[in-house]
């Protein structure tokens, strides 16, 4: 049954894991996402759905446990925050290389290094351009509400399994820590082993007499066939363009466009409403998927606005993709705060006004 609750983003994500029929979650505490494992442990899904929940010895262990589970076709997930996500990168690259579906949540915080525990969006490059080694991409979703922290779980799993590719939810300390009203979707039961074997004929669930053995690997010593493998991945990423999602607010008559994702998009939504009250025609484009990215739509909008402002809680990462999309048609400005500092709507509006 769908239910309305007041939850933190982290808790909504955890509850959604249980409801999405996730088979296993592996995690390691780190602020600001520890509520994920805390919530799961309080709900004891291992007694209800049979979902495995384990607090591991490290993020490295957690992501490799995901690899193991995913290799057998199970729905597996892990979560962490920036430093922990960095540790997982080798494992994420292996998942992509071996074409395994898995869900990774990053509740990002300010960095580099140990940095701060306050929210940031400075992991955009890491999430969208690979992150680990090798030629690969993740499917990346950027929630901007607690509701989306829940809703993106089944969506991410669907895409991950459809393309056999890891999916990442790139959130941050704002969305993870804040509480909002959330309508929880109806639980989906976990798949049986027979279902998994049917849906994932590649899964290493034990060789049956009627099939060849299944091997999960990312190794191919022959450069020509490795190249072929990477080209196949590339085709997959091109097909993944079909999963593009974005939201537009007041763009119809906009003279000035703001592009922002996740928590920043929430803050910029307020900028739009204050600006409109002051008679300034400002619109907002919010990429919901960061990979694939709405290059085409931004290019179209660049034909009708006077300039574009990109805001991020970083020194400017997504702004590079926006500039690629705009192809120099109009000026692209950037306003950012970083290291865990957060801008307010008025601050952004003041900056915008200096560029009129």
């Amino acid at each position: 049954m769908s239910e309305v609750k007041l939850m933190k983003g982290n808790e909504a994500f955890a509850e959604a894991l249980i409801r999405a029929g996730t088979d296993a979650y592996f995690g390691y505490p780190i602020t600001p996402q520890s509520e994920v494992v805390e919530y799961l442990m309080s709900q004891k899904p291992y007694e209800t759905t049979g979902m495995v929940v384990l607090q591991c010895e490290s993020e490295v262990a957690a992501i490799n446990m995901c690899y193991g589970g995913a290799g057998a076709g199970f729905k597996v997930a892990t979560s962490s925050s920036s430093p922990g996500i960095s540790l997982k990168q080798e494992g994420i690259s292996y998942l992509a290389g071996a074409e395994l579906p898995a869900l990774i949540l990053n509740v990002a915080r300010g960095g580099p290094g140990l940095g701060t525990i306050q929210p940031a969006q400075s992991d955009y490059f890491q999430a969208t351009k690979g992150g680990g080694h090798g030629d690969y991409r993740l499917f990346v979703l950027a929630p901007s509400s607690v509701q989306e922290m829940a809703d993106f779980v089944p969506l991410a799993f669907d895409v991950a399994f459809k393309y056999r590719n890891p999916a990442m939810i790139l959130s941050d300390g704002i969305i993870g820590q804040m509480m909002e009203k959330v309508t929880l979707f109806e639980p989906i039961p976990r798949r049986s082993l027979e279902q998994i074997e049917k849906e994932c004929p590649w899964a290493t669930t034990g060789k049956k007499p009627n099939r060849e053995r299944n091997i999960i690997t990312s190794l191919d010593l022959d450069p020509i066939s490795q190249e072929k493998h990477v080209m196949k991945l590339k085709e997959k990423y091109e097909k993944m363009q079909a999963e593009l999602r974005y939201e537009e607010i007041n763009t119809d008559d906009a003279e000035y466009l703001i592009v922002a994702y996740g928590s920043s998009a929430r803050i910029c939504h307020k900028v739009v409403s204050i600006a409109r009250k002051q008679g300034l025609k400002v619109g907002l484009l919010r990429p919901i998927t960061l990979f694939p990215f709405p290059y085409k739509r931004i290019n179209e909008l660049a034909n009708k606005v006077k300039h574009i402002l990109v805001t991020e809680l970083s020194l400017g990462q997504m702004v590079e993709d926006v500039k690629l999309a705009v192809e120099g048609k109009v000026p692209v400005y950037f306003y950012g705060r970083t290291g865990g500092a957060i801008y307010t709507p008025v601050e952004i509006l003041e900056y915008l006004k200096t560029k009129l």
């Binding site: 804040m178 509480m179 909002e180 929430r266 803050i267 910029c268 307020k270 957060i342 709507p345």
Partner: protein
């Protein structure tokens, strides 16, 4: 209707809980709500604050720089947030431990001696409910019934026997709040 509130005080004063109850009560009345805490080392007895928004529209930014209402429970928070109340807005504060009182002339300032009153009644643990009562008196955007339901949702079952006491505290808070 959109009400943007900041609640600030020391960790352990029940600041986050008060915000949570307002948010839950908002849900009971079908409003959109958001609750954004300060988090981190504040846990260790430092200052804590929470931004709560209750609205009949989709809520945009959960982070604000001005508020309709500021509920202030210690001096550092008063110093920080007095200037963030919108002109014409409301500041509610508990004078306990306050040396420099609020000075603005373009907002309505209310005083609620909740710490003192709660100590008298032996209700120190739920002094925050008294403050909440004071707020509801000044800004009756939520009914006491919704707030009680909010408390039910926010408190673990084993503490539900304390609900009548909470209600008493809320009503007391409504009595003792005074315009400065």
């Amino acid at each position: 209707m959109t009400e943007e509130i900041i609640i600030a005080g020391f960790g352990g004063q029940g600041v986050l809980m008060m915000g949570k109850i307002i948010a839950y009560a908002g849900i009971m009345q079908n409003y959109e709500v958001s609750w954004m805490p300060s988090y981190g080392p504040e846990m260790r007895g430092g200052t804590a604050n929470v931004t709560v928004i209750v609205s009949d529209e989709r809520i945009s930014s959960p982070i604000l720089n001005e508020y309709d209402t500021a509920i202030i429970l210690n001096q550092p928070s008063l110093d920080k947030f007095e200037k963030t109340v919108k002109p014409g807005g409301i500041l509610i504060y508990d004078p306990n431990g306050i040396l420099r009182h609020p000075e603005r002339k373009d907002i309505s300032i209310y005083k609620i001696p909740a710490t003192e009153e709660a100590a008298k009644l032996g209700l120190t643990k739920i002094f925050n409910m008294m403050v909440l009562g004071g707020f509801l008196k000044i800004k009756p955007i939520l009914s006491v019934e919704s707030v009680i339901k909010g408390i039910e949702k926010s408190l673990p079952k084993r503490h539900h026997k304390l609900i009548p006491q909470n209600k008493e505290a809320i009503l007391k808070g409504m009595e003792i709040i005074k315009l400065v």
